[in-house]
């Protein structure tokens, strides 16, 4: 639990809190990007280079832009008149506390199960590549099918809109 870890954790938590508490929706999206960046830096702190850079590439480079486009192309960029908090906030708080308790119990339980490892195992990109086309080739192909389906779906949605206007 080094100083760097605490700084990065503070950055991620601040970004996530700002993403929920800010009034302007685009500001929320940008704060979420900061939270993503904090997570990526946490991955890099743990020497998981591939995971960290893939996080930046996918989350900040694609998902954040997608979120921002979605906000802009709908009416979400206007400040909501009724305020940003819902009226049933107590139920939401109870559910969030329950989820946090389950996750915390799982994480703390796993520390007792796994032995205290002194040396950090270095996972190179080569090992990740070998694992992807060796042991995990079926999940890889399923993800490819999913991506193809998503692309076909996007094209169909766009095409139907054009035909609907005519």
């Amino acid at each position: 639990m080094s100083f760097v870890f605490y700084m990065l954790a503070a950055l991620s938590v601040t970004g996530a809190l700002a993403a929920v508490l800010l009034k302007n929706t685009v500001h929320c999206a940008l704060a979420l990007t900061v939270a993503f960046a904090g997570l990526a830096l946490l991955f890099l702190d743990l020497d998981a280079q591939f995971a960290g850079f893939a996080q930046i590439l996918v989350y900040i480079g694609a998902v954040a832009i997608l979120v921002v486009f979605a906000i802009l192309l709908t009416k979400g960029s206007e400040t909501p008149k009724d305020g940003v908090f819902s009226r049933t906030w107590l139920v939401g708080l109870v559910i969030a506390a329950g989820v946090f308790a389950v996750l915390g119990w799982a994480v703390i339980g796993s520390i007792r199960v796994l032995p205290q490892e002194k040396a950090v195992p270095t996972v190179t990109v080569l090992q990740i590549g070998n694992a992807l086309v060796g042991r995990y080739v079926l999940p890889l192909e399923i993800v490819a099918v999913l991506l193809t389906a998503a692309m076909v779906g996007a094209v169909i949605v766009a095409m139907h809109e054009k035909e609907g206007e005519k």
Partner: protein, 397 residues
């Protein structure tokens, strides 16, 4: 392979040796961080200086292509023009629109310049001269490249200006489309070199046979990959002929309309630095990085070759800008998704064939034939569909 004469080795490694010498004055505990700071300072000084030089070359070069002189008042042949430009942008009034989103408006050029500077960290600028030698160096470079898209969007949105927002949307759409092409054309290089680390990619190309280097551009898949990489690089940095997002005659100035003074200078700097870093990556991946073109020229320092190839790529960028007309947004997108992307996927396939056919003339013939037939066939098909015939001229009466 290299001449081991100590004079040549010294001149090749002179910056590394200077760094060691400067660090030897410090206690051991400070040496790592001081070393990093020194290298970062070197990058931050050299590339903006190159940027200043490039602005003059661009204006003179474009002027000559357009049959006029470029700037020639400030200093001999206008070479001191960047100093005048720098003083102007530093002292200009910084105008922020009243309804603009002040925080995001301020942060956008900062995020752009920071993300672009980060890309320089993994480029091997000479033998042993990469700032950080990462195992996943190429992935880091592309991760930083995608962060620039967010900065462009921030600039366009925060200005509360319809034209800026339009320009930013177009820029982001263009950058996302061509990011795919950029990544796919780099993947062939990674396949053949077997590593994502840029220093290893350069070392894989640093071999010579019959005096000719094994650069990847001299292979069929490498040549096609380089052309597609160059197209994607021109689109990624919003350079002509893909500069509709900042087209001066269409959108005032696109996403940086509402920026003046130093912030505009930062955008300008960011665009040119992105050009440098993407050209640097292109030379690393396809043109052999710091390796010399012929075996008898390996005595010239490696950093000289890297920067020469970089400046050659910049010269080609300037040449393209002065020669080709601008592409419309939908033509641009069509081109990316319907022509360049299928060629990229085919190139991956061809690279695989190259690897598994083994050495000899057969693989040259097969790979070149596949690529040329595909290019001609797709081009012919698209032109027939667009009913593009021979050029016709209309003259004023």
């Amino acid at each position: 392979m290299t001449i081991e004469n100590p004079i040549f080795v010294t001149s090749d490694q002179i910056f590394v040796l200077l760094r060691h010498w400067a660090l030897s004055f410090l206690p051991a505990a400070w040496q790592t961080i001081a070393g990093v700071l020194l290298s970062v300072a070197a990058i931050v000084c050299i590339f903006p200086a190159l940027f200043a030089l490039t602005t003059v070359f661009e204006r003179k070069g474009l002027g000559r292509i357009q049959n006029r002189l470029g700037p020639n008042r400030v200093g001999p042949f206008g070479l001191l023009q960047p100093i005048a430009d720098g003083i102007k942008s530093l002292t200009k009034e910084d105008i922020v629109p009243l309804s603009a989103d002040a925080a995001v408006h301020f942060l956008a050029p900062v995020v752009l310049v920071v993300a672009v500077f980060m890309g320089f960290a993994v480029l091997p600028m000479g033998r042993n001269m990469a700032l950080v030698d990462m195992d996943a160096g190429l992935l880091f470079y592309f991760a930083m490249g995608t962060s620039t898209e967010l900065a462009v969007f921030m600039a366009g949105w925060s200005s509360r200006n319809k034209y800026s927002l339009l320009g930013a949307m177009r820029a982001v759409a263009q950058m996302i489309s061509y990011e795919v092409v950029l990544l796919l054309s780099s993947v062939t290089v990674v396949m053949m070199a077997g590593s994502l680390s840029l220093t290893k990619i350069v070392e894989a190309q640093n071999h010579y046979s019959f005096g000719f280097p094994h650069w990847y551009i001299f292979t069929p898949w490498g040549c096609a990959g380089f052309v597609m990489y160059a197209i994607a690089a021109t689109a990624e940095t919003n350079r002509s002929p893909f500069d509709l997002p900042e087209g001066e005659s269409e959108l005032v100035a696109g996403y940086h309309t509402e920026y003046s003074g130093f912030k505009f200078a930062l955008f300008f700097l960011g665009e040119y630095l992105a050009m440098f870093s993407i050209s640097g990556l292109g030379t690393t991946l396809f043109l052999g990085g710091w390796s010399a073109p012929f075996l008898f020229l390996t005595w010239v320092p490696s950093w000289f070759w890297f920067f020469s190839k970089l400046m050659l790529s910049i010269f080609v960028f300037i040449w393209l800008r002065g020669t080709l007309p601008r592409l419309r947004q939908d033509q641009l997108m069509n081109f990316a998704w319907k022509f360049v992307l299928p060629m990229c996927l085919l190139n991956l396939f061809v690279a695989g064939i190259w690897r598994f056919l083994g050495d000899g003339w057969l693989r040259w013939m097969v790979c070149s034939a596949i690529l040329i037939v595909a290019y001609a066939g797709m081009g012919w098909g698209e032109m027939r569909r667009g009913k593009i015939g021979p050029r016709s001229y209309r003259y004023a009466e």
